[in-house]
Structures are given as C-alpha cells and as structure tokens.
C-alpha cells in the first residue's frame, strides 16, 4: 500500500523525482567514472611502463677471457674415508683453449670433517715443498698455491691427502676447491658444469615459458683506427657487434639504410661507411686487439644512432646511459665467437695484463608482453617467475639483468600512488554528489511538507511517513545509482577509449562498480533521508517561522572557521616538515614517485572551508544591509529583491555554498591541469634543450658546421644554436684527480636565447653573465658543482681537458674554471662541463656540432607545428635530419606517474562538475519556485506583472550565481595552488602555478548560462501556477 503510494508519487511528479535523481546520477556517475578511469588507466600501465624498454632481460655471460680452463675434483678412492682414515684429493686442471693460462692459483680447503696431511701435496707428480701446512690454503686470506702457467691443451694433476674418520661418506662439499688466474681473477669453483655456448644458451632460454625471443648479442670496443676500407680508416674508436638477422629484425631502432644482414657478411654504420667511402660489396678490414686483422665483405649499411639496445651502457656506474659510437661494425655471431673472441683471448694472455674493456656477451630476452597482466604489480610477479626460469637455465655461468621486472616494480608503486591520487581527485566529486543530493532533498522536503501534513490529518503516523521516506529514498537512489553507474562507465570509455577499458580486469571493474554504486547509494541516500526526516520531524508552522531566519548548522558551529584554522595549521606544519617536497619518479632510476598523499587532505579542507567561509561572508554582507521597515516602497522589484536577500540571506548563502563548491572544483582542476601541462611542457622543453632539436642523421649528405645554424631558421623558427656534446667525450683533470666527463660546447650568444637557461642553473645566479664570460674568453670552462666537488676544483683553477677523447684528434688543453652550474637544458644525460664552441674548435677544428637547438616564435603547439612543417619542407626535405620536439619528448615520457592521463581524469571531473553546477542552479531556482510559489501568485493577484516576477527570480538566482562563482573562483584558485604544491614531485622543474582564463570563464559562463535558462523555464512555470488554488490553501 505504502510502496504503491510512493511509486505513484514518484511517477506522477516526474520533474520533482528527476531533479532529485539528477544529483544522485551525476554524483554516482562521477565517482564510478573516476574508479573506472583508474581501472582503465591501470590496465594500460604495464604496456606504458614496458614500452620504452630496449631489452626486457639480459643474460650476461661471466665467462672470463681465456677462460677455457676447468678444474676437476674427485676423491681417491671415491665413496667414503677408507679404513686407514686417509683419503686422497685428486685435482686436475685442464686448459682446452688456444692460449696459455698464466699464474694459475689453486685453492683447496678441507672442511671440518677432514684435515690436511702435511707434506702430502703434489703438483704435476712433484711434491710441493717449503710449506709446513696446506700449501693450497697458503697466504693472506688463504689465497692458495700459484702453480704457474698451464699451457694450451695441457693438463696438470694436483693431489694431496686428508685425514678423516673411517667410513665417513665423502662429498664434494667437504672440500672447497677453486682456481683463478691472471686472466681470470675471480675464483672458479671445481667441478663447475661446462659452459654452455652462447647460441645454445639463447636456444635453451627461448624455450622457457613466457619468453618470446632470446637472441645472442656480443659487443666489444675496438681501439681507434681499427676499421678501414681500401686504406681509408675511420677516425676514432670502433665498436664491433655480433648478432644475426633475426635480432636486427626484432629491434626497430636498428635501421638498415641499404643492403641486409647477411650470413658471412658485415653491416657497418652509416657514419663509418661515409668515413671509409665504403659501400655494399666492399671489403672492410678490422684490426683486432691481438693485432690480427680480418676482412669482411659489407652486406649492409645501417643507421644505428637510435639503437638503444646496442649502445645502452652495461657498466654499473652509468647503466643504460646511451653511449653512442659513430663507427660500428656488425658481424655474424659465429664470426664474433670464432674469430673476435679468440683474438681477445690471445690479447689478454699475450699482453700480460687484463683487458680494460673485455667483450660483453649476452642473451637478450624479450618476454611475451601480450601475456602480461594489465596490472603492473601482477605483471612484475609474472616476469619475476619468467626470470627465475631463465636463471635456472645453465645456472652459475652468468647473471641476469631483469630490466622488465625492475620497471614493473616501479610502475606498480607508481600505480599505487596513482590510485591514491585519483581517488583523492574523485573524492570531491563524491562529496559534491552527497551535497547535491542533500540540497535537492532539502528542496524536495520543503515541497512535500504540505503533502505530509495532509497525510497526517488523514491518519498517517510519523512511522508511516518515515517508512514512505525510506521507500522513496531507496527507489530514487537505487535508480540514480544504476543510471550513474552506466554513465560513469560510458564517460570512462569516451575519455580512455574502449581498448583501455577492455584491458581492465573484470574483477577490478566489478569491484569499482560495487564500491562506487554502493558508496554512492549510501552517501546520497543518507543525505536524502536525513533531510527528509528532518522535514517530517518539524512542525509546518515552525518551519514557516524559521524559513526567513534559518541559520545553517555549519555556521552556528563555526565549522568554516575551525576548518580554515585547521588548514592553516596543517599547511604550516607541512611547510616546517618539508612535507611538500618529494622525489620525482623514474623507471630508469628504479624509483617510484614519492608523493605525500596525506597532504591531499589540505586542498580538500581549503575547498570545503573556503566555500563555507565565502557563504558566511556573503550572507553577512547581505544581512548587513539591515533593511529598515518603511511603508514607502519604491520600485516593487528593487524593494522585493532588497528585502528578500537582506532578510533571508541564508537562502542565498546555501545556494552560494553549493555553486561555489562546484565552481571551485572546476576552477581548481583547470588550474591544476594548466599548471601540470605547462610544467610538463617546460620539463620537456628543458630536456629537449629548446622547442626543437635537429640532429644531422648518420646518412646526412652534408657536413653541418656551427655556422650553419641559420639553415634551420625557417618559418616559425626564431633561431638555432649549435651544440657539441657527448657522453664521456672528455677527461677532466684537476690538480687532484681526473675523471671522464660529458662536455657540452655551445655558442654562448645563441644558446642563452634559444635554450631555456635560467639564472638558478648557475652558482653565480646570473646565466647571461656566465654566457658572456664563455663568449668573451674561449679559454674558460664552466663545471658542474657535482664534478667540481669530485675534482676538488674551484673557480679560477686551471682544468686540463682531454678533448675529443678516444679519437685520432684527442688533445689536452688547459681551461680556466670560470664558474659552476647545477644543470643545463638540453642534456638529459647530464653535462659535467660547458665551454664555448669557439674554445672547443680552437683545439679540435674538425669537430662538427652534434645537434642544433631551435626555438619557435610562438610558445603554443600551433607555433611548434608550423615550425616543424617549415623544417620538414625545408632543410629536412633536402637531407637526413632527425628532428625532436618538446612534444615528442613529452610523448616519450611514458614510463612514470607523470605520464598518467591526468588530463583525462580532470576532463572527467570537470565535465561532471559543470553538469552539477547547472543542476545546482536548477535546484536552487526550482527550489525557490517550490518554496515561494504562494508569494509569487500573491504578487500576481496583487497586480504585479509576470515579467517583474521573472526578474525577481532572475535577480535572486543571479545573486547566487555571481556570489557562488566569485567565491568559487577564489576558493578554486587557492585549492589548485595546494594541489600543485602537493603534487610537486610529479615534475622535474618546480612547477609555476597557472590559472588559465579559460578555466575560469568556462565554469562561470556555464553557471550564468544555466541561470538564464533555468530562470526562463522557472518563470514560465510561475505563469502556469493556479492562483485560485494556491491562494485559498493553508
């Protein structure tokens, strides 16, 4: 009976039902949308995180050069200690390599169960004399016995006797035996399994479940002038690689310019081909470390300038740094194994010293990325299992670099931070939903009071009314939550795309759906129920009396003042504890973003208390006018407006709170997005060095000089600046020490204007002065503070700089340290020293710029596109130029939390916020209509023209709209500032706070538009009210 009544009530009052449900729909929709957004985004985080990885896993072979030596250990007799208590330990050292092993040292230590018998040791059948104890545990740290050289193909027997308890079983573990040599200083245990050849290792690993590909890669550094063709050598160091065609096919950064990767033929880098004037079919000669030479026919020419898998550093000190070598040659893996490695072995054994840069031999592994879970944490567990399986293949002969698991572990941590962040960004939406529902509920309750009174007169008890309220609330919130659920999912699909949502696991989607719909149902339902219950508990006449003077609970409790004080105190504490500082995250550095998520409470506190305080101030301002009673009324419109807002300001105040909260959220999100985009763009521009970076490709037809910068000054480009730069391209030597370093040589005059150089980058605090110093005195150099500390060098000191390191032109010159810098734009791998390009050219005249930086005439994306178009149509059309922009740098930064689709989330939040703003205005205006319809029809009956009543409604709605938007913009600006401060670790550079005009105009414009439209509709409804009925009612 009651349920039927409630259902009819809802169906027959569609406007009232809908206006209440819209708040629920939007609120639940927003909360669902945020959670679904997080699901969809998390689903793509695995793909995003692993996308930039050049190699998923690397099995690095630790087999030493000249290491084809084995040590076999056995007991004679085997089994157990004989009855006489003596067991012979028989060792055998075999050298199966082509070269001798020098200074072979044997170490053998019996365990607790056995004891060395003095004088029992023999080497090569000869007794070892001169030792009172175990000669194989002799020396500091029990280093063992040096048995001298073991020649190629030789076998050396070593024996000694141990004593033990008769009958005790003998195992290998009872004696710890190993050997080392001059060529292999790391001890190699006895009885180690034979080394699996690299090609077999790759084949075995490729069979491991979850491994897509496994291919061998060998690489080694050859010296300068080791590659030539027709008597024309390349200048500078040469790098030699060994891999096959399949490896090249799978790595898209290995770009064959001509020819192919053929068996028994070589591929050379485009730069080497150019230097040697060699082409396909020509023969090139490679001088190997042992001074032997091999001739190979060129089968292809490749652009390797972006081949990260080949040139990523394998050294622990600068792991993954891109150390590019212009002169490279690729030979088949069989050639590397059969010819290059023996040459290194010979070199290592004949020169009598350890090779400084031994060849690197590895199996590069690509996992089945498509099978990885969309969640980075789960995916990390998957790759961890794959890594364990890969390590189990031919164990102990190498070690595994598990790049993908490291990356995914960081991404998983990022994902956790992202979820916390996004939930916080979604929380205001949820709060707004509950508030909007409560606001709608208040209005609805006012409208239903008369109906409730009638029902009471007809015998309905309070219990009946509460039962009906429960049913009505449940029906509306359940329906609204379901619709909101669909809306949220739809919006998430629109913003993220269906692929992302389909990638998300069903379990996470279901969990989000359940959480948000139940949460939304409870939050909005509770808000509706409480307002309705308060209405039932209040006497009608009491309510009428209170209507004009009602002061909200929050104001009476002073919640705004308390909240503001708490926000200020929280801010001061956070500043004192440096809580706003965090650490930027990077997969490359294996570090997740360190956000102080707890601080996100502050912007939310500023938001709520700011809006309440604004409402208090506006309410106080309106009531402060204290209209005096007078019988002389001037303009009815002005008088009615003035008296209405002056004597019942909290009706306006309530509307202001709602509108200001919504506008504040929209403004805050706009400010945050704008600041975020601007900061990321600045970060990207800083990393690029300017708006555009032009790098002459390896196959460029012309040789670009520093003076050619003007070539790149095309339409939309204001200027270009040449830069010489390289990783470890110089050696800096101070009076105390020296170190390889990254030197940048720039044109100080143009670099200062083209690159975003900042005063703060220099210790002197004056970037321009620093550039002038370099320009005016080419014998000066600027050094990074970090390098200066290492070198123990100071401004004014002389620095010896080995320029063009490792090339035929390397030369040492003295420079005076003119100053220090922290960091410089354009060198994401870091610059340790900076000098003028003239100063560099004075010593190395043949060196050409490595790249040019170019600035656009307009900072926006359109200006960048125009400049790119003109460059592509101009210089890049005529020659092979690699062009990077700040946009491409930004797009490539996909590996950390900073790359998350915050813009998408903000778009989602803003869309709902603007929708809620319109609904809030509508609720306010229609609420006025419901609450004051008797007033309006009375005025009509008194002869007030309908258009005057319309203006009166519009004036009050406008007051709410203007007050709400002004307060909202101010509060939103402050809230946005807090958001940017809390999310500071997302940025490399300190982000500048930016409040875009559009971000203010949009919500304000929408609120005003909503006010106009809703007022127009509302005033039409006033005309349709039945005065005869309303005026006789009581």
């Amino acid at each position: 009976m009651l349920a039927e009544y409630v259902l009819l009530d809802l169906v027959r009052n569609p406007r009232r039902t809908l206006s209440t449900m819209v708040g629920v729909i939007l609120g639940v929709g927003l909360f669902c949308g945020v959670l679904f957004f997080v699901d969809g985004l998390s689903a793509s985080m695995t793909q995003r995180a692993v996308a930039p990885l050049p190699i998923d896993m690397q099995r690095l072979v630790t087999e030493p050069i000249g290491g084809a030596i084995t040590l076999v250990q056995r007991f004679d007799p085997p089994g157990s200690v004989p009855a006489d208590g003596r067991a012979r330990v028989a060792l055998e050292i075999r050298n199966t390599s082509d070269v001798a092993a020098n200074e072979v040292t044997v170490r053998s230590l019996p365990g607790d169960a056995l004891h060395f018998v003095a004088g029992s040791a023999e080497v090569g059948g000869q007794a070892v004399t001169g030792f009172d104890d175990n000669p194989f545990a002799h020396g500091p740290g029990s280093v063992g016995l040096n048995i001298g050289t073991v020649g190629s193909g030789a076998t050396v027997p070593v024996t000694y006797i141990d004593e033990g308890t008769a009958g005790v079983e003998l195992t290998d573990a009872m004696v710890q035996t190993s050997f080392s040599s001059r060529e292999s200083v790391s001890p190699v245990p006895a009885n180690q399994a034979s080394t699996v050849p690299l090609n077999d290792l790759a084949a075995q690993i490729s069979q491991v479940s979850g491994v897509a590909h496994a291919a061998q890669l060998s690489l080694a550094d050859l010296g300068s002038d080791t590659l030539s063709s027709g008597g024309r050598p390349v200048r500078g160091p040469v790098k030699i690689f060994g891999f096959d065609a399949r490896y090249a096919e799978r790595d898209s950064t290995i770009e064959l310019v001509s020819g192919a990767v053929e068996r028994d033929q070589a591929v050379i880098s485009a730069e080497a081909a150019q230097a040697m004037e060699a082409g396909i079919g020509d023969t090139v000669t490679v001088t190997l470390p042992d001074a032997t030479r091999i001739d190979v026919v060129v089968g292809g020419v490749a652009d390797l300038s972006r081949a990260r898998s080949l040139f990523a550093s394998r050294r622990g000190s600068d792991l993954e740094a891109f150390v590019y070598s212009r002169n490279s040659i690729i030979v088949p893996p069989e050639v590397f194994a059969g010819t290059i490695m023996p040459a290194y072995e010979r070199a290592a054994t004949t020169r009598g010293e350890r090779l400084k840069n031994p060849p690197v031999r590895e199996v590069d592994i690509t996992v089945e990325r498509g099978l990885l879970d969309s969640d980075p944490g789960t995916a990390a567990a998957q790759t961890g299992r794959i890594a364990a399986d890969v390590s189990a293949v031919a164990t102990q002969q190498d070690f595994l670099l598990d790049n993908i698991s490291n990356t995914l572990t960081v991404a998983a941590a990022d994902a956790r931070v992202a979820k916390q962040l996004f939930v916080f960004l979604g929380v205001p939406g949820g709060l707004l939903a509950a508030m909007l529902a409560a606001y709608a509920g208040t209005v609805l309750a006012d409208a239903q009071r008369r109906e409730q009174a009638t029902l009471r007169i007809r015998g309905a008890s309070r219990r009946h009314l509460l039962h009906m309220l429960t049913l009505r609330t449940a029906a509306m919130t359940a329906s609204g939550s379901l619709i909101g659920l669909g809306l949220g999912y739809g919006v998430a699909i629109v913003i993220l795309g269906p692929e992302s949502m389909l990638r998300a696991s069903s379990a996470s989607i279901a969990t989000s759906a359940l959480l948000s719909s139940v949460g939304g149902f409870l939050a909005t339902g509770l808000a509706l129920y409480l307002t309705g219950r308060r209405s039932i508990d209040r006497e009608i006449n009491d309510d009428r009396a209170r209507l004009a003077r009602r002061v909200p609970l929050w104001r009476r409790a002073g919640l705004d003042i308390v909240g503001l004080a708490a926000a200020i105190a929280g801010t001061l504490i956070a500043v004192a504890l440096n809580a706003f500082d965090g650490a930027a995250g990077s997969v490359y550095f294996g570090r997740a973003v360190q956000l102080n998520v707890g601080l996100l409470v502050l912007p939310v506190a500023v938001w709520v208390t700011g809006a309440l305080l604004a409402a208090r101030l506006i309410g106080a301002g309106l009531s402060g006018s204290k209209p005096q009673s007078t019988g002389t009324i001037g303009s009815p419109l002005v008088s009615l407006y003035r008296l209405s807002i002056g004597r019942r300001p909290w009706a306006i105040g309530n509307g202001v709170v709602v509108v200001s909260l919504i506008v504040a959220l929209a403004t805050c999100l706009a400010a945050f997005t704008s600041s975020y985009d601007a900061a990321k763009s600045r970060d990207a521009r800083y990393a690029t060095g300017s708006d555009i970076r032009v790098t002459p490709g390896p196959t460029a037809q012309r040789r670009y000089e520093a003076g050619d910068a003007a070539i790149f000054r095309t339409d939309g480009v204001t200027g270009a600046s040449p830069v010489i730069y390289g990783i470890r391209n110089v050696i800096l030597r101070s009076a105390r020490t020296s170190d390889p370093a990254n030197l940048a040589a720039v044109d100080p005059a143009t670099y200062a204007t083209i690159a975003p150089v900042r005063d703060g980058d220099f210790a002197s605090g004056d970037a321009l002065a620093a550039m002038h110093t370099l320009r005016d005195d080419p014998t000066t150099v600027m050094v990074s503070t970090q390098m200066a500390v290492f070198l123990k060098a100071h401004p004014g000191d002389t620095l010896h700089v080995l320029l063009a390191r490792g090339t035929g032109e390397q030369i040492e010159a003295d420079f005076r340290i003119a100053g220090l810098f922290e960091r410089l734009p354009g060198f994401p791998d870091g610059a340790d020293a900076l000098m003028s390009i003239d100063g560099y050219a004075a010593h190395v005249p043949s060196k050409t710029p490595d790249f040019f930086l170019a600035a656009t005439d307009s900072p926006d994306d359109a200006g960048l596109r125009r400049a790119m178009s003109s460059l592509e149509a101009g210089p890049a059309a005529a020659d092979h130029l690699q062009i990077e922009t700040r946009s491409s740098t930004l797009a490539r930064d996909q590996s950390s939390l900073a790359a998350l689709n915050i813009a998408g989330l903000v778009a989602l939040d803003s869309t709902f916020a603007l929708g809620m703003a319109a609904v809030a205005i509508a609720i306010f205006v229609f609420g006025l209509l419901l609450q004051r319809r008797r007033e309006y029809v009375t005025l009509r009956a008194q002869g007030l023209e309908p258009h005057t009543i319309r203006r009166l409604i519009a004036a009050e709605a406008s007051t709410v709209a203007i007050g709400g938007t002004v307060a909202g913009v101010l509060v939103g600006a402050a809230m946005g500032y807090y958001f940017v401060a809390v999310l500071r670790p997302l940025f490399v550079l300190v982000p500048a706070y930016h409040l875009p005009a559009r971000g203010v105009v949009e919500p304000v414009g929408l609120v005003i538009l909503a006010t106009v439209i809703v007022t127009w509709f509302a005033s039409r409804l006033v005309n349709r009210l039945d005065p005869t009925e309303l005026l006789r009612d009581e």
Binding site: R544, T630, R647, R934, T1028
Partner: protein, 235 residues
C-alpha cells in the same frame, strides 16, 4: 459608468477530469450594484472560489461573460487583466498570504507601490497613506513587525489593509474569517464592511457562515453545477 459593479452571464467553468469533463461552476446570472456588499454561499464544490477567481481575472471561464467595473474581463488579455486587478481589485483570502519577509507596513506599502508604479492615482488625487490606514485599522503599533510576529487575527487585519490601501472599486474576499475564531472573525468583518463603505467599494465575500453572510447587503446562493460531480468540489 453603469450602476452595476459586477455583471455575470451564463458563466460556465469546465475542466478535464480523469473520467471526463467536470463542471466546476455554472452561474447563469449575477449582478452586484456599486457599493453593495454580497455574500456568496452554497454547498461545497459549487464553485464559490472559482467564481471569485473569475471575478478577479485570475482565471478565464469556459463560456459566459464577466464584467467588473465596466470591464469585460473575460475578454481581456493576460496583461490587461493584470492592469485591471491593480486598478480595480482588492483581495482578501482565508490565508493572509502576506509576504513573510516584509513587515506589516511594507506588505501594505507594496500593494500601493504596485499600483503607483502603474501610475494609478486615486480619483481625489491624493496618495493613500499606509501609515494612516494602519492607524485607522488599529495596526499602527504593528507596522514594523514581520507577519510571523503577529497573531492570526492581526495578520488578517493587515491583509484587509493591503486589500484596500489603493481604494479598489471591488473587494473580493474568499472566506476571510475561515481561519479565525468568532471574535476575530467579527472584528475582521466589521473592519472590512467599514472600509468598504468608507471607500465606496463593492464587496463580494464567499462564506459558509450564515451569520456573517447575514451582515452583508445581500446573499447569493450558488447552486451546485448540474454536470458537476463531487470531484469538482474537491478540485
């Protein structure tokens, strides 16, 4: 200017109900002279309030004509009916319908402002004085109070003041004492009658109370409409 302030002919009001057309009012003829006071009585649902709404121009009949103060208001446009109300009508309801955020004098003054805003001046050329009227009605002490601070009887007296401040030609009262006790009811009726006589207005008052009806010049018994149902009265 004719002798009749109100002339009604063949007045019918129908509306669409759930079961078909419902007749809310049928008034074949009614004429009220200027300065006359008329009590409209009749059973519930006979259309008394509907008739008053038609006389006030707040609704239009389905058929028939309504002429008030020489204006055929049933034929007027919405805008002209508003002007007509401002010029010629004063209304008192069972509920006082005072604006809750306006004081007593402001409620009264607003009515005057609405009329003066339309440049409607009293025939004697003098601007009516709300303070004087409130004094005349014994409300001077309450001038600065909000309606919520008054008793029911006081509020209804203020409603009377508001209805007559602009000296209308016709005063329409819809059970103005329905929510009052007998004493207050008599006070209000006396007040209304006095003022009506004082300004020479025509008074039409709907009432169920035979005693009050008997105090007016004439009683008009409105019959239940032929085609009407009980629903009409409940409308």
């Amino acid at each position: 200017m004719s002798g009749a302030a109100i002339v009604v002919r063949d007045l019918v009001v129908d509306y669409a109900g759930v079961g078909g057309t419902v007749r809310a009012l049928h008034c074949p003829a009614l004429s009220v002279k200027r300065g006359e006071s008329l009590a409209v009585t009749g059973p519930s649902g006979c259309g008394k309030s509907t008739l008053l709404g038609l006389l006030a121009g707040l609704a239009v009949p389905t058929q028939g004509t309504v002429m008030v103060d020489d204006e055929t208001i049933s034929a007027l446009s919405d805008r002209d009916r508003v002007r007509f109300r401002r010029r010629a009508l004063g209304m008192v309801y069972q509920s006082d319908n005072l604006l809750p955020h306006l004081t007593v004098e402001e409620n009264v003054g607003l009515q005057l402002a609405i009329c003066l805003g339309a440049r409607i001046a009293h025939p004697d050329g003098l601007r009516p004085d709300p303070a004087a009227l409130l004094h005349r009605l014994g409300l001077a002490e309450l001038a600065g109070r909000l309606p919520d601070e008054l008793s029911g009887g006081q509020r209804q007296r203020v409603a009377v003041a508001r209805a007559v401040i602009h000296r209308p030609a016709v005063i329409l009262a819809d059970e103005p004492t329905g929510a009052l006790d007998a004493n207050n009811a008599q006070v209000v009726i006396d007040l209304l009658s006095d003022v009506q006589r004082e300004i020479g207005a025509t008074l039409v008052m709907v009432t169920h109370d035979p005693h009050l009806a008997s105090q007016l010049d004439r009683i008009f018994e409105l019959a239940k409409p032929v085609a009407a149902t009980e629903d009409a009265g409940a409308r």
